[in-house]
Amino acid sequence: MKILVGYKRVVDYNVRIQVKPDGSGVVTDGVKLSANPFDDIALEEALRLREKGVAEEVIVVGIGPADLTAHLRNGLAMGANRAIHVVTAEAVQPLTAARVFLKLIEKEQPGLVILGKQAIDDDANQTGQMLAALWDRPQATFASKVEITLDNGGAGKATVTREVDAGLEVIEAELPAVITTDLRLNEPRFIKLPDIMKAKAKPIDTIEFGSLGVEAHDHLKTTHYAAPAKRSKGVMVKDAAELVAALKQKGLL
């Protein structure tokens, strides 16, 4: 089976993002870009399934401008067999991304699609669920454990433990299915130098966004960016008694 993995490039999680003074966006010039952390986890899970013999091929997918190639090479260096680069200069919203994935699914016929539960730039947490709806297949979101069982006929199911507010939920999903990853699913491997060299020989298919026939209309328009309201530093108390007195005075204890 093939596994398709979403591999988005985002502002690195260590960067403290700044809003432009005129409210037109956030400062991204010269800012370090990295793989979305949840997508690294998605790729790691796919690679482990391949190493267990569940999958034969892992394909990383990126949607973005021409220079996204370098980012996709990182996914190949981590261990993906090949990459698909859907080229567009415009940022795509989740519904459009899901429609792109659906087109790639029709072509690649994967048994599993693994995506990060959210990208840490727009924090939307939508693409996997939307894709599963458009594909009319199961979704197992916020996965912290994935087990795949295949029967002889090639059919299979995923037993997925999901991190939900009430605890850990276990569901079964017939394949093909969409899984989105939570933080505790695995710890992604580091890329080693020889793998970077090897990745240069791996194929990256380039597809123009316009050639996919996907409706690109975005329903949401961002009209303003603002910095969040700041909490100001409070007071230091000297001991437990003073703290209890202060909280009692505010009616909190």
Partner: protein, 314 residues
Amino acid sequence: MSKILVIAEHLGGKLNSSTARAVSAAAAVKAEAIDVLVLSDAPDAIAAEAAKIDGVSRVLTVARPENAHPLAAVLAPQIAKAAAGYSHVFVPSTTFGKDVAPRVAALLGVAQVSDVMSVEAAHAFKRPIYAGNAIITVEADATHTVVATIRSASWAAAGNGANSAPIEALTIDAALPTHTRFVELKQGSSDRPDLQSASKVVSGGRGVGSKENFDIIYKFADKIGAAVGASRAAVDAGYVPSEMQVGQTGKIIAPELYMAIGISGAIQHLTGIKDAGTIVAINKDGEAPIFEIADFGLVGDLFKLIPELEQALG
């Protein structure tokens, strides 16, 4: 005029308070009607609770055995059908809502507005991006249904008691898939207040040091009637189960009192508590970032200070 359908979240036959918070967001749209949809195998008791929430016009129920557990693949086609005639569909931005709402949006062919913090106009909303380090105003296409998840920590629960909205049973003609099946929910049983809705929360971090040591946090929380939370570091270290995690990737909460004990205050944790009323930090490192946002800070050894706090409480 707007007509809003709010999807009820419930567990074990009880309505989750996130539903009343989503109703508050719906009220902010100044809708002419706010209907609450309860999908369950046994919706009656849940619907009766929802009918009491102020501002609710009607409660609609869909009773089907397939709705016994909240599987997005099963619920979404029913919600998408029920959404006909509504201008907005609001769902709490909890793991329940985050799972099901995008599936509904995709079935309707519309975008979703995630984590609504405020309503600026019927089709304009504020929401956080970059872990809350920027707040954007988004405008949704007014010719389409708005599907949105409502960030619980930004909204007080709508009051209840004065209302008794009519309850109507719906029959929804939707083919439901069988490709996704519920197996089990592993829940830590606890008599403590619910972390998401508690007015007081005591959280422990890496500084607590072990699973056994966490007893001191539980004991103190019980003494003041608080829910118990934890930092990601404490969860990753195995001190407590994952459902107790507070932060960007855990629960985002807004209690009146939040006490962070042995938590240094990584950005991802602070994202989860920014909307708390009063934040108290207890940490042995006076330079810990948690003190930058705490209303009250106390530097010292938590194992010495917690007994002293208990004593001071009498």
